[in-house]
Symmetry: C2
Subunit: 309 residues, 2 copies
């Protein structure tokens, strides 16, 4: 069991046939996946755990995204040179910070909740109509072009579907206008297996108020914010863009605790409790969804050679 995909050097040290469970981050790393297949490993990618009730306790993406959403707000508060809450003092009132969260998935909802806790005035956007109620239930304002297309947008699986060019243009105009009035913008939009969508352009940043802060949680996937640099805090004019890598790992103790629980719950399904031996059932839907390589071959449908699919 590992946190991340084994390196080439590590692969050579693992015996053939061994089960390697980790967050494999396989997209764009097809060579590394092939290397694990060639080494005869059974590589299991935790992040492909299906989002079904039984596997919720093993859902590493949700557990880590939740922490990233919290930490994004702490990082923003640390970099921002004003206070988040409204303060009524003898020397006058300090207005509350305006925080805009783009993408209201697990990370976005936790970012909204944390920014609200700290006393900010929070708004959020998402292309899934169902997120409106979630955003509003956390006390944030929902910002989106709510036309007929939007209302019909949610897929049966609850994921966002691609919107028309017209809708995207209308939404971008609304967001551009909204961002001008924000102090902090936190972007959380990730699409599995694809580059992160560009949500904030350089011209939007140029229109922001001096001292504003952007935090890009998608920076390792290409970034939602134009100009964000992975692992750095960059200044663009009078605005700062925070691009920390592995944001959940910035609260390492909690991240490890939850990941360990995810792993433990999954491994419990892989053992025969009476005989106390490993007994992987390759027909189990959890195993089928997460096994990348087996018996020397890449077997996962998203990565297997086309003729094998």
């Amino acid at each position: 069991m590992k946190v991340r995909r084994p390196s080439d050097a590590e692969i050579g040290l693992i015996p053939r046939g061994a089960l390697v469970v980790a967050t494999m981050d396989p997209y764009g790393a097809e060579e590394a996946v092939s290397a694990m297949a060639s080494a005869g490993l059974v590589a299991v990618a935790m992040e492909f755990m299906p989002r079904i009730t039984r596997a919720q306790v093993m859902d590493v993406l949700s557990s880590q995204a939740n922490l990233a959403g919290y930490q994004a707000v702490v990082d923003a508060a640390e970099v921002y040179d004003r206070a988040f809450p409204m303060m009524m003092t003898a020397a006058g009132t300090v207005p509350a910070a305006r925080v805009f969260v783009m993408g209201a998935g697990v990370a976005g909802l936790q970012a909204i909740a944390t920014a609200r806790r700290l006393g900010a005035v929070v708004s959020a956007t998402d292309v899934r109509p169902a997120s409106k109620e979630q955003v509003e239930s956390l006390g944030a304002k929902f910002i989106a072009v709510e036309d007929e297309e939007f209302k019909a947008a949610e897929t049966a699986a609850g994921y966002a579907k691609p919107m028309s060019a017209e809708y995207q243009a209308k939404q971008a105009a609304l967001v551009a206008e909204h961002i001008k009035k924000q102090d902090v913008v936190i972007t959380t939009a990730l699409i599995p297996g694809r580059a992160a969508p560009r949500l904030v352009t350089a011209s939007m940043i140029a229109a922001m108020r001096p001292g504003s802060v952007l935090v890009d949680l998608a920076v390792e996937r290409g970034g939602n914010v134009e100009g964000a640099v992975a692992g750095e805090i960059v200044e663009v004019g009078a605005v700062r863009i925070v691009g920390h890598r592995n944001v959940a790992g910035r609260i390492a103790a909690t991240a490890s605790q939850l990941y360990a629980k995810n792993l433990y719950a999954f491994v419990e399904t892989l053992v025969d409790k009476e005989k106390k031996v490993l007994a992987v059932d390759y027909a189990d839907e959890l195993v089928k969804a997460t096994v990348l390589t087996r018996d020397g071959a890449v077997v996962h449908p998203a990565f297997a050679p086309k003729e094998a699919a």
Copy 2:
């Protein structure tokens, strides 16, 4: 008008008779005060503003302490490697951080409020009995040896008075036991014109849990925490001690806004509004309390040569 005391080089550039209003930080800087006197400056120390109703809007100590209390919690959350709020997730419950605030003045009360906002379980201590109700009204637990001496401890002016050696020993034992169970300790105890009291000893730190964080807001006055270093984050065993200088200045925009308001309100009392000229009334209690030097001499009672007092 300045933020800080003029340097020797600056003093030479200021014409004789000029009014210099700043946070002078004069204790331990008697030579600099004498230099301002010799240069013929009227040096006015904002931090000596009396704590009366009329001068509340000019109270720079309160306005900056409030911000320091907020920022101390943000800094603690940034350094602490777990989350502050309790999180109930599919992968298990993350417990809330335990935060202990030592000293419940303006900075301490804002630290309590901010840590509570972030979802921490907060406790606090202070030697003034009146602070118990304030601490509890913010939802924090009050920790102190509440014997007869404690109940009689508050002075007429509302400031802490020195406690007996017996009381101090009992209180230290209680605090030492309490600190063992804390994740974050924020110390805010300052006494005007004297070194900061030592509240947390090395042996108390050695008993803290691995990963715990201390933030010492008194580090520039000698520190409440043994081993704290001004301007640094130091590791002592598995515990980190945060010793940032000028913590209010870490949220510079808000700090400047409030300080400007403090200065403006004070300067309004120094001008003749009809004639639109500077008209300092040296008999005014605000001026009497804050003027350090005038007519070539050190005139403030706390600094004037003994024969002149």
